[in-house]
């Protein structure tokens, strides 16, 4: 079973910052460049484990310290030195759709639409059916980005394909171009806007990002939760899945994790014969699948959700 991952990764880093601030007892620099914190300059005094009185920046009083606000250009560049990948283990999926509901909730996806779809797949008459969660593949040769006339959808250096909803003209060419049907369109007033105070809401749910929130008349899709990864945390679908189906990580770290278990990416892909969808199209996805062998659940256990959902 999976532990709840309630201690954010960035708690490691503030000790680093703290020791440096307290007199530079070592010269170690924070190796995770994206984890920069906006320091307030104000200090608070606190008691250490040993009962010493130490000082720390006020920014760390928040459960998740603020990360710097990014300009549109910085957001489009992405995080230097990162290359995000996802591994989806089909042997563990039983169509619970916790990923879907968490994603829909956090991104305020319009009712009826989904950024993650869990598809009941059966490749041929006599092959075994399986559940396949499908996200945006964040392709390295993204066909959707190729066709965008205004740079509204773009590929970042960390591999994430994003949409700038303040620029998108709503031509929907990217939707036609995507062979994975990953993209959805905001056909009507978005949930955020219709609930009022869109700006505030957007900041809460999608963090400090200046792009990738939903606007009527523009395209939306799975965005690998860039505000979460920038804070060193996992995308919502990854932490929402109780079966550890989704594993996320940085290819440059050669590691993927579902929060509870952490694997070396290259070994995992080798040992479990990982593959990508529609390799022949040359899109080079960033999402890898592990085949549904030695399954944790029978396919049928997921059917309940399927029938219940359609009513």
């Amino acid at each position: 079973m999976k532990n709840n991952n309630n201690i954010p990764r960035r708690d490691f880093l503030f000790t680093g910052l703290l020791t440096a601030a307290l007199g530079g007892c070592n010269d170690k620099k924070n190796p995770f460049a994206q984890d920069e914190v906006v320091l307030t300059g104000e200090k608070v005094k606190l008691l250490s484990v040993d009962g010493e009185v130490i000082e720390i920046d006020k920014a760390f009083l928040k459960p998740i310290p603020d990360v710097p606000h990014l300009t549109n250009a910085e957001e489009r560049e992405g995080i230097p030195g990162k290359k995000f990948v996802m591994v989806i283990d089909l042997a563990r999926c039983k169509n619970l759709r916790k990923c879907q509901s968490a994603c829909n909730h956090m991104h305020q996806v319009h009712p009826g639409q989904n950024w993650i779809k869990v598809l009941g797949m059966e490749d041929a008459d006599h092959t075994a059916p399986y559940w396949q969660p499908t996200t945006c593949m964040h392709c390295d040769e993204p066909p959707c980005v190729k066709v965008c006339p205004v740079d509204a959808t773009f590929k970042r250096q960390d591999g994430i394909v994003l949409i700038d909803n303040e620029r998108c003209i709503g031509c929907r060419f990217c939707m036609a171009a995507c062979p994975y049907s990953a993209r959805v369109f905001n056909w009507e007033e978005t949930l955020m806007a219709s609930q009022g105070g869109s700006e505030e809401h957007h900041h809460h749910n999608s963090g400090p990002t200046s792009v990738a929130h939903q606007v009527k008349g523009t395209v939306g899709k799975c965005d690998f939760c860039p505000e979460m990864t920038r804070q060193g945390e996992l995308p919502h679908c990854v932490s929402a899945c109780p079966n550890g189906v989704f594993m996320f990580g940085d290819l440059n770290e050669d590691t993927v994790t579902n929060g509870a278990e952490t694997f070396r990416f290259s070994e995992l892909i080798k040992d479990k014969a990982g593959y990508r969808l529609m390799e022949d199209l040359g899109t080079k996805p960033s999402v890898y699948y592990l085949p549904p062998v030695n399954r944790n659940f029978p396919y049928e256990s997921g059917l309940e959700k399927e029938t219940g959902d359609e009513k």
């Binding site: 606190l46 250490s48 990580g249």
Partner: protein, 292 residues
């Protein structure tokens, strides 16, 4: 036809009032439906900074939703007197508290402390007891074998003694998780409070110099809470930040990185055709001048 008066409200104000009352009632029912759960975590990071993390979620069926704007008071050992902090949960339903220097005397007085969470005058959590503990992480390497040594000490009767049977993760800090240094997911300390893990992650990519951030982490131990120790080691492979992939001029690049062949083709066609068109418009102007 005779109108059937089956509707009890003759005028609009009453109807509105009724609707309002019903909506209030259903709202209250909906609020009662879920169960509010408050959780407290104690974290000790590198034996220096310690803090408390409070989590507040609403459990409705199987769905957990964070609740924001919930106010709590946390006390050390005795409710009402030793106030640690007034907390209000944020949008993620979390709030964080440091132990203030004013409680130094209380903190130093005992090796075991109870944290009490109160909401208004009600004790929400009263049995959260933490024993002071320390964690250390050391590296050693000889003959090509690299070892990680982690040890946990706990305080008993104002003395630091080894803590046995403490389960932890030992490995490399990665995005969102710890990649175990050895083959096991978790390791447990022996009677001397120590454990040794052989580092078996060969050629693991590190930072630009090859540094790895090694971590030993005890997570939510029932005696000690969470303990984290970090250490940097040059045990990885240096990785370069390679943006060559991103800087290419391809069909999927931005408009600032359009492939040269495409620029050449497009502009030669555009200038060719529009040059001719401008020439033709000048011809029309010429015709106009001839007639003037």
């Amino acid at each position: 036809m005779k109108k059937l008066n089956i509707f009890p409200f003759q005028n609009r104000p009453t109807l509105l009032l009724f609707v309002f009352a019903v909506s209030l009632l259903t709202r209250q029912l909906a609020a009662q439906e879920g169960k509010k759960i408050v959780k407290l975590h104690y974290v000790n990071s590198n034996n220096r900074v310690q803090y408390l993390l409070l989590e507040c979620v609403l459990k409705k069926g199987k769905v957990l939703t964070p609740i924001s704007n919930q106010s709590y008071k946390i006390y050390l050992d005795s409710a009402g007197t030793n106030l640690i902090s007034n907390l209000t949960t944020d949008e993620t339903g979390k709030a964080k508290a440091f132990i203030p220097p004013s409680l130094k005397a209380v903190w130093d007085a005992s090796s075991q402390h109870t944290f009490i969470v109160m909401s208004d005058d009600e004790e929400v959590i009263s049995d959260f007891v933490i024993t002071k503990a320390k964690i250390t992480l050391d590296t050693s390497g000889a003959d090509g074998v690299r070892n990680l040594t982690a040890s946990v000490m706990k305080m008993e009767n104002n003395k630091w003694i080894p803590a046995a049977d403490v389960e932890m993760k030992v490995g490399v800090q990665r995005l969102g998780g710890i990649l175990s240094a050895g083959e096991e997911d978790n390791y447990t300390t022996d009677s001397s409070g120590t454990l040794i893990v052989e580092f078996k992650r060969d050629k693991l990519p590190g930072d630009q110099k090859g540094n790895l951030l090694l971590v030993a982490k005890v997570e939510d131990n029932e005696l000690f809470g969470s303990l984290i120790a970090e250490k940097k080691a040059l045990w990885g492979v240096a990785t370069k930040v390679d943006t060559a992939f991103f800087d290419q001029r391809t069909l999927w690049s931005t408009r600032f990185r359009t492939p040269y062949w495409l620029l050449f083709m497009a502009y030669s066609i555009i200038f060719g055709v529009w040059g001719t068109l401008i020439y033709l418009i000048r011809q029309v102007i010429k015709i106009k001048k001839l007639g003037a």
